[in-house]
Symmetry: C2
Subunit: 327 residues, 2 copies
């Protein structure tokens, strides 16, 4: 549109018909939102999606963008085993985007929030050169908590779903990898439409002892590294056991290298001491679960390479890092 959007017009427009539950005493429109006192321990996290860094507008619809911005935040709540409750949204808007764009972005955000039972309680709009969506998300712990620091030698390491798909999807969207047909669509969707494993996280938080967990945002290798560092343990990963989707195998072959190094999958990695086989665990959590290795003493992570039989030491864990992705 030609007319520059005023902050107040846009805020008023976007704040109509937002999802709200009884816990929200006062939603957007005053200096702060007012929430009912939390009955249990609260979770709080903040995350940001920046145009040109985490996504490009041409890659998807505004609705997908809005939904994805919340979903990656929800994944942090899932990784703690919590229930998401309320969020605050900061939009940095740049010239050239019209009110219809933001209507659609908020439609996607609203839909994702409603699906997760999250109230959108407040927002702020600021001008900038780059579009960015920053969301602060609150949650509650209704059972135990999944920490990065509670992995113990002897734990089995599991992941939900398959890994590496979103990283390939990202590279396809960015023109750095070629793919076509169903495999392309699957991988691209895994990047554009992540689903936070909220229900699985909540079920894990009811297990005793509560597993250690993290969500796969930075890549399996790096995210595992956070668990190892926080828990002061090591790990042995069986490369052949890393769950790869048929689409991944069609595009990148059977080598899990890319799956180890690229992020954005928003699956859960967890370390548990359970006698349940993976199939039974899958049924209980409601998502496919695969055992990929075990926690060991020491501070070393090795990948036991199923194909060559060699072990790969990892003196310094590295993985997916948005800050490095352009270097």
């Amino acid at each position: 549109v030609k007319t520059p959007l005023g902050e107040f017009e846009l805020i008023a427009r976007l704040c109509a018909n937002l999802p709200a539950s009884r816990r929200t005493i006062l939603g957007p429109g005053d200096d702060c939102a007012i929430l009912a006192p939390a009955r249990s321990r609260q979770l709080a996290t903040i995350d940001s999606m920046v145009d040109g860094v985490h996504f490009k507008l041409a890659w998807g619809t505004p609705e997908l963008l809005g939904a994805r911005a919340l979903e990656v935040n929800l994944s942090d709540i899932a990784a703690m085993g919590g229930v998401a409750t309320a969020c605050l949204v900061n939009l940095a808007i740049r010239p050239g985007l019209d009110a219809r764009f933001f209507d659609r972005l908020y439609a996607g955000l609203r839909k994702a929030a409603t699906a997760a039972g999250v109230d959108i309680v407040g927002g702020n709009i600021t001008r900038a050169d780059q579009l960015a969506i920053t969301i602060a998300l609150l949650g509650e712990l209704r059972a135990g908590v999944l920490l990065r620091s509670s992995a113990r030698p002897g734990d089995t390491i599991y992941v939900t779903g398959t890994v590496g798909d979103a990283g390939l999807g990202w590279r396809i969207l960015d023109g750095r990898l070629k793919a076509s047909g169903a495999a392309r669509k699957y991988l691209v969707d895994r990047f554009l439409r992540p689903t936070a494993r909220l229900a699985a996280g909540q079920k894990l938080a009811r297990m005793r002892p509560a597993p250690a967990a993290i969500d796969l945002s930075d890549g399996l290798w790096q995210d595992l590294g956070h668990i190892l560092e926080c828990s002061r343990v090591g790990a042995e990963i069986d490369a052949a056991a890393i769950p790869l989707s048929p689409a991944y195998r069609a595009v990148a072959g059977d080598d899990p290298e890319s799956a180890l190094g690229t992020g954005e999958d928003y699956e859960l990695l967890f370390c548990a001491r359970t006698r349940l086989p993976a199939a039974a665990l899958s049924r209980r959590l409601g998502v496919p679960v695969h055992a990929i290795g075990r926690i060991v003493k020491g501070r070393r992570a090795v990948v036991l390479n199923g194909q060559s039989g060699r072990s790969r030491p990892a003196p310094r864990l590295k993985g997916w890092d948005q800050l490095r992705a352009r270097d």
Copy 2:
């Protein structure tokens, strides 16, 4: 520095020695922070400061920038009459800023948080083309609540401190207004070092009935407009009663026009039905307070111009709007 900063190194560096109280069960370092259940109704707000939009790096030190980013958020808690408790910080970092810069920015942020009793419980760092600091701030209501919607005809309209100073300071810093000496320093400091009126807000929230209130971030005229819109009332403002600082008068004369239209003062505007004279109210709140007009029936705001005797109708309230500031 030549070496590009990694997200994890920087986060680890900045998250050392953050203020935390007993309410913070788990601070930065996991997927979410964990907070003890709130005992009272909670407040939540989010705000963002973008380089080139809200500030320019050359205007002040990194410490001032960090402190100011929190202070403008604290002002929203003050305007509700609340106590600030915890915050989450999202840093959008651009190339060319070194670790020392962020150390200093966080030093300022940490100092402001400590002074206000706020725990810094989490953060996120993302790459961008523009430096931006987005803070989500939580608080609690320990007494009544100051709303925008509770102004009633017959209320007296008050402001704390003086108004218009920060707007002049901004224009001086931006090279659009000339000033020198003590007046310049005072006005520039009012922009760079705002102080959220937390204690005054908390004291107002103990009055019965609780006053309507808003903080002066967008300019007196526009912020008053929010109160009028939310409360469905009108107002008569006595131009001659608007408190102007000696520095304001030295630089802009006795005309309150600029004070009505420019923001960033972070004083409180409140509407109360009290028999206390302004001097007694000042003593009770611990800040200078001036009566500047009254709430009336109808939806019209007029400025009764003390000098010319003419009234100025305001068919459409406008004020300070960062989105329009560059148009």
